[in-house]
Amino acid sequence: MIKFSNVQLGYGRKPVLTALNFDIQRGDFFGIVGPNGAGKTTLLKAILGLLKPLQGKISFPENGKGQKKSIGYVPQHASIDEIFPITALDMVLMGRYAKMGIFKRPKSCDYELAEKMLKNVGMETLANRNYRELSGGQKQRTLIARAMVGEPNTLILDEPVEGMDIQGERAIMELIKTLHTEYALTVVLVSHDLNIVANYVKTLSIIHNNTLKLGPVDSMLNEETMARVYGTVVKIVNISGQKTIIPKLNE
């Protein structure tokens, strides 16, 4: 569980998000959406511990005193520098480094776990391929495997389907859903793509006017809220059990 107690986030002295009081429950599939510049990345950085709150406290109560938080982070695949000459397997193995401890080299059990994770994300045949030679979807799968190899209890993903085609988007989201179920993971996902988030998350949080509102996806996802948050009229339709958000033109 991740607990926000009266948290204020921002840069320098300027607050970006204020009065954040909410919990991300264990085993939840938690989506964070909001317009550009609303503070999605700021919130993500705070959860990851990369940004200290200006006020309040973010805690991980289940971890116990002195125990490190167990987070697997999947950045946007475009953020990884392709100049690095590294195989998919070595990339995944990097996710084990913190667990190995100082002075230690990867052992056969670390390699086995990395190979298993690559298999779980459907990348076993590409283990020895250079990371930079992989497609966008394959890179994203490799980064998911890297996050999973650290055996986290929370998986945090930043725009996991950014720049992918429809098939790639669906494949990655189905993979995340499978991992969420199989490993009983808490998943926190940031995305600007409402159609993706609407169909996979259980809890939806919307960042608007410097604060965050959250609830079950069905109650949060309504035309009135979306119009207010995004400043445009939208229609939410259900096609074959799939929620689709369509902006209305000329309105």
Partner: protein, 270 residues
């Protein structure tokens, strides 16, 4: 060649010095190029030169003074400020030009004047002493031991700083350690090899390695091999044609890089 071999006894310390600088700087160049901190290394090298300039006009031992200034620069440049108002690039650029100006101002009041600027820029490998070689050997051994022990930490902060931090690696600490090893390598070589050669060794061998290899280990091997071969060939050419040593080594490195490009093209095609 015979003439050179006869005089080898006279050149043994300068050659050893060039090879040691090539070895350590070429190895570290892989991290510098991969982490895209070439400009940081250029600025730190310039600050290190300022330290030497201060030592020259005060008559103090140059190496500790240079080490002090280099570590100070490394500590400042490794701080990650918010880039909302001032980019890190501008900060490092300012450090470079201020250090360059300070070096020129300092040596302009020295008795030797322009010759000392020459020394700072191109170094004077012929002044290497056995003491310097042993000192360099000690520092280089420390650098390589550190990199052997903490390879995974250094690669993690080089590839993905945020992932390293979130996974529990003390990323800021290891990044500072990486920068300190680079600073130490610069400091020990700057007096003998000069600003130009150190900067070149901190960039070009890795570029060669990255053009030819697809694995980290091979990139390191190629970078170090190219660095050492260039140092030896450049030294010989400078003796043979009576040219200054550092520019000869730089020219050799560039020639090898030019040969790498067609080689890579045909290798890829095949």
């Amino acid at each position: 060649m015979n003439d050179f071999l006869i005089n080898l006894e006279f050149f043994k310390y300068p050659i050893a010095c060039s090879v040691l600088v090539a070895l350590v700087c070429s190895f570290l160049s892989v991290y510098i190029v991969l982490k895209r901190i070439v400009f940081v290394s250029v600025a730190v090298t310039q600050v290190s030169s300022s330290g030497i300039a201060i030592a020259l006009i005060t008559g103090l031992n140059p190496t500790p003074i240079s080490l002090f200034f280099t570590f100070l620069a490394v500590a400042i440049f490794s701080i990650r400020f918010s880039e909302r108002k001032l980019s890190n690039e501008s900060r490092i650029g300012m450090g470079f030009v201020v250090a360059s100006a300070a070096t020129i101002l300092l040596v302009s009041k020295s008795a030797k004047g322009i010759h000392e600027i020459d020394d700072l820029l191109f170094g004077n490998v012929l002044v290497s002493t056995p003491y310097q070689i042993y000192f360099m050997l000690g520092i280089i051994a420390c650098i390589f031991i550190t990199h052997f022990l903490f390879y995974k930490e250094f690669t993690a902060v080089t590839l993905d700083f945020e992932m390293a931090r979130t996974s529990g690696i003390r990323a800021r600490f290891w990044e500072l350690m990486l920068y300190l090893t680079i600073g130490a390598a610069i400091s020990i070589g700057i007096r003998t090899s000069g600003n130009l050669l150190i900067t070149t060794f901190l960039i070009m061998p890795a570029v060669n390695g990255l053009l030819l290899a697809n694995r980290m280990k091979n990139v390191f091997i190629i970078a170090v091999t190219v660095g050492i071969i260039s140092a030896l060939t450049g030294f010989y050419l400078s003796y043979y044609f009576d040219f200054p040593t550092s520019p000869c080594i730089v020219a050799t490195l560039f020639a090898i890089l030019c040969l790498t490009l067609p080689f890579r093209f045909f290798y890829r095609k095949s």
